[in-house]
C-alpha cells in the first residue's frame, strides 16, 4: 500500500546509499538567473558538460524590471545576472524564455501554463517555491545551488526521503474565502516549522472542487510551514488543464499518459506519518500580522497578547511586533496601508487578477495606495488584456505591470520603502523581504482589492 508520493519517488530512485540519501532522477529541471550562475561556473571548473540540456527550462524572472522591459535593464548587477543566464543557456543548448519572450514569466507560473509540468514527474528548481508544481501530482521541490550543479551534471540529485503528512480539507468554502486563506489558515495553526521534514499530500472535497490555479496557491506555500513540498492527486480538473497546453502530450500520447496519470493516487490503506484535518467552514479571509507566515489570523481577529504566545516564541513575537509597529491585542481592521502588491508565483495567475478586478471594478483606488499589479507571466498579461481586465483595472485607477517576481522579493526596483505597510498576495512576510524595513501583511487578492479601494485593511465581504 503506497502513498502517491511513494509511488512517484520510488519510480525515480536510481540507487540508494545505505543510511544515506537516495539518488533521484529528475524529469524536469527549471532554472533562473539568481541561483544558477555559480552552478554553471562549478561545472565549467570541473570541465563537465550539461548532461541532459533538453530536460532543462530557463527563465529570467527574479531580477527583471516590471516596467519598460523593452529597454536594457538599468541595474548593472541585475543585467549582468540576466545576461549570464542567456550566455549559459546558449553555451549549453538550454531553452530560455528570457525577458520579452512571449512565454516569459515567473518560472513556477510558466511551466504549468506551457504544459511542462505533468503528473508523475520529478521537478526541481533552485527556488523553494518549486513546491507549486505539486498541484499536478508531481514531486517538486526546491534545491540549493550545489544541487543545481548536481542536476546539471547528472540529471539527478541526492535526497533523503522525507516523512509523509496528509492534510484533509473538507467542506464548502465561505464567501470571499480563497485557497490563499486556506493555506494561511493552516500555517497559522501548525506554525512556520510545523511540517519540517515532511512532504504533504492535500486531500479532501474542498481540494477536489478547486481549480488548478487555486491548488497551485496551496502547494506553493507548503514550504512556508517547512515542508519539502506539497502534492495533490491529479483528477479530471488536472487533465483538462493540461490537455491543450503547448508542451503537453497530444493525441495517442496523451491517451497513453492518461493511463499512467490515473494511477497516481494514494492507495486506500496507505500509511502517513501524520494526518491533519481542517473544515472549510471554519476558514475566513486571513491576514498576517507578524514576520513569518505562521503569524496569521482571521482578518476580523485581533493580534494575540504576549501571554497567548508559547514561551519559547515570545522573544521573536516581541521582535516582530516592534518591527511591524503593532500592539498585541489590537485588531488590524482599518489600519492605514500604503502599498498593495498583487502578483508572485502564489497569486500572480489569471484567476488572481480576475478576483482582484472583480472586487475593484466600479470603485476607485484610494489615493494613498500605490498598487503594483504584476502578472505572473506574459501569457497571463495577454489573457488579462484579452478578457478586458486591464481596462476595468484602469478605470478603477490600477495599471497592470509587466511580468516578474517583482515585490515578492524586491530584487528589482519594486521595493516597499522602509516603515511602509504593504498588503501583499505573495508568500513571505519576513523582515525586509519586500525591501529594507518594509512591513508586509500577507493576504488573498480579494483582501488586497478591498484594502486598495479603502486605503486601509478591509474585510472584502463588505463589498460582496
Amino acid at each position: 500500500m503506497k502513498t502517491l508520493f511513494d509511488k512517484i519517488w520510488d519510480a525515480h530512485v536510481i540507487s540508494s546509499i545505505e543510511n544515506g540519501p537516495d539518488v533521484l532522477y529528475i524529469d524536469r529541471h527549471l532554472i533562473h538567473e539568481v541561483t544558477s550562475p555559480q552552478a554553471f561556473a562549478g561545472l565549467r571548473k570541473r570541465n563537465f558538460p550539461v548532461f541532459r540540456p533538453e530536460k532543462i527550462i530557463a527563465a529570467a524572472d527574479h531580477n527583471i524590471p516590471t516596467q519598460n522591459q523593452h529597454l536594457p535593464i538599468r541595474d548593472e548587477l541585475s543585467k549582468q545576472q540576466v545576461d549570464k543566464l542567456s550566455e549559459n543557456c546558449r553555451e549549453h543548448n538550454i531553452t530560455l524564455y528570457g525577458i520579452n519572450h512571449p512565454f516569459n514569466g515567473i518560472i513556477h507560473v510558466i511551466a504549468p501554463e506551457l504544459g511542462l509540468t505533468q503528473p508523475g514527474m520529478t521537478i526541481v528548481c533552485g527556488d523553494s517555491h518549486t513546491s507549486t508544481h505539486g498541484a499536478f501530482g508531481c514531486i517538486a521541490f526546491g534545491i540549493g545551488t550545489s544541487e543545481v550543479e548536481m542536476a546539471l551534471a547528472s540529471q539527478c540529485v541526492l535526497q533523503t526521503k522525507p516523512k509523509k503528512m496528509r492534510i484533509f480539507i473538507n467542506g464548502k468554502l465561505n464567501k470571499c474565502v480563497s485557497s490563499k486563506d486556506i493555506i494561511l489558515h493552516i500555517i497559522s495553526k501548525i506554525s512556520a516549522s510545523g511540517s519540517t521534514g515532511y512532504f504533504i499530500e492535500y486531500a479532501g472535497s474542498t481540494i477536489r472542487n478547486m481549480s488548478m490555479e487555486a491548488r497551485m496557491t496551496i502547494c506553493n506555500m507548503s514550504i512556508e510551514m517547512g515542508a519539502r513540498g506539497g502534492i495533490i492527486a491529479p483528477d479530471e480538473t488536472t487533465f483538462n488543464y493540461i490537455k491543450d497546453r503547448k508542451f503537453s502530450p497530444k493525441g495517442t500520447d496523451m491517451d497513453k499518459s492518461l493511463i499512467l496519470f490515473k494511477t497516481l493516487k494514494s492507495d486506500d490503506n496507505a500509511v502517513f506519518d501524520k494526518e491533519l484535518s481542517f473544515k472549510a467552514e471554519d476558514i475566513e479571509p486571513m491576514i498576517t500580522y507578524g514576520t513569518n507566515p505562521g503569524m496569521g489570523m482571521k482578518i476580523t481577529d485581533s493580534i494575540p497578547f504576549i501571554e497567548d504566545i508559547e514561551e519559547n516564541n515570545r522573544e521573536s513575537f516581541r521582535k516582530s511586533m516592534e518591527y511591524m509597529n503593532f500592539i498585541p491585542g489590537r485588531s488590524l481592521i482599518d489600519l492605514p496601508v500604503d502599498f498593495v502588491f498583487v502578483g508572485s508565483c502564489t497569486n500572480g495567475r489569471i484567476e488572481d487578477i480576475r478576483a482582484f478586478t472583480s472586487l475593484v471594478q466600479g470603485h476607485k483606488k484610494a489615493d494613498r495606495i500605490t498598487a503594483w499589479i504584476v502578472p505572473g507571466s506574459k501569457q497571463v498579461e495577454k489573457q488579462a488584456k484579452a478578457e478586458g481586465l486591464v481596462n476595468l483595472l484602469y478605470e478603477a485607477g490600477f495599471e497592470l505591470r509587466q511580468p516578474g517576481c517583482s515585490a515578492c522579493l524586491a530584487m528589482n526596483e519594486d521595493k516597499i520603502p522602509e516603515g511602509k505597510y504593504s498588503v501583499s498576495t505573495s508568500n513571505r512576510n519576513f523582515e525586509g523581504r519586500q525591501g529594507p524595513g518594509a512591513r508586509t501583511l500577507l493576504a488573498s487578492p480579494l483582501v488586497a482589492a478591498a484594502s486598495a479601494i479603502t486605503g486601509k485593511i478591509t474585510d472584502p465581504r463588505i463589498f460582496k
Partner: protein
C-alpha cells in the same frame, strides 16, 4: 565545489538566540546578484548588522567584540525560507564552521552540508545550557567531534550526541562532494533512462 574537510573543532561561540532566523535575514535578496561565490561574508545578517547608513549596529552580536569563534548558535527553525545557498555561503565565508540549533529547516541543512558547514541539531535543553554557559562566560569553549558525533562543553564535560547521516559524515570527513559520486553513477543513470523510455513507449 569540493568542500573542506571537517573532523574536530574546539572554539568559542557566537550566540544568536532568535527563533525562525530565515534566509532573508541571513542574507537579504538584494545581495544575491553576484555571479561568483566570493565575498558573501560582508552581507551576512546585513540588515541586523548595519543600519541604513551602513553604520554597524552596536548591539548586534557580530559587532560585539566580546564574542567571536567558529560556532554560531541559533534558535529553533534556523534557516527557514528561501532555498538560497548563499545563506550557507555567507555564514561559512564569515568564518563559521558549525551552526548549532535545536531545529533546522530542511533545505538549509542540505545547503550547509553541501557547503562544508556542519549543522548540529541539539535538544532544546542542551541548547539552553549552551546559551546560558556562553552568557556567563563569553570564552566558553565548545567542542564538536564529528567522528563521535558529539558536542560538549570543554570545561564541564557536559555533552550530547548529534545525528548526521553516515553518507554526509563521510563526505565531510573526507572533503568529498556529491557531484563526484553522481558522475561515477553515469552508466546507471543512462540505463535507467533507457528503461524508463521503454516503459513509456509501451
Amino acid at each position: 565545489m569540493p568542500i573542506d574537510k571537517f573532523e574536530i573543532l574546539e572554539s568559542t561561540c557566537v550566540p544568536l538566540p532568535a527563533e525562525n532566523i530565515d534566509t532573508d535575514q541571513i542574507i537579504p535578496a538584494r545581495f544575491l546578484k553576484a555571479i561568483s561565490r566570493e565575498g558573501f561574508a560582508n552581507y551576512l545578517f546585513r540588515d541586523w548588522r548595519y543600519d541604513k547608513n551602513n553604520k554597524p549596529v552596536p548591539d548586534f552580536i557580530l559587532n560585539n567584540t566580546e564574542y567571536s569563534g567558529q560556532i554560531l548558535l541559533g534558535g529553533k527553525n534556523f534557516g527557514s525560507g528561501s532555498s538560497r545557498e548563499h545563506a550557507a555561503w555567507a555564514i561559512y565565508d564569515y568564518g563559521f564552521k558549525v551552526v548549532v540549533s535545536s531545529f533546522f529547516a530542511d533545505i538549509f541543512k542540505n545547503n550547509a552540508l553541501n557547503t562544508g558547514l556542519l549543522p548540529v541539531q541539539v535538544t532544546k535543553s542542551f541548547l539552553k545550557i549552551l546559551f546560558t554557559a556562553i552568557e556567563n562566560d563569553h570564552g566558553t569553549i565548545v567542542k564538536i567531534d564529528l567522528p563521535n558525533q558529539e558536542i560538549s562543553l570543554a570545561a564541564s564535560g557536559i555533552k550530547e550526541n548529534f545525528e548526521i547521516n553516515s553518507y554526509k559524515k563521510e563526505c565531510l570527513l573526507n572533503g568529498y562532494d556529491d557531484i563526484d559520486y553522481l558522475i561515477s553513477l553515469k552508466r546507471r543513470i543512462i540505463d535507467f533512462e533507457k528503461i524508463k523510455s521503454f516503459e513509456n513507449e509501451n
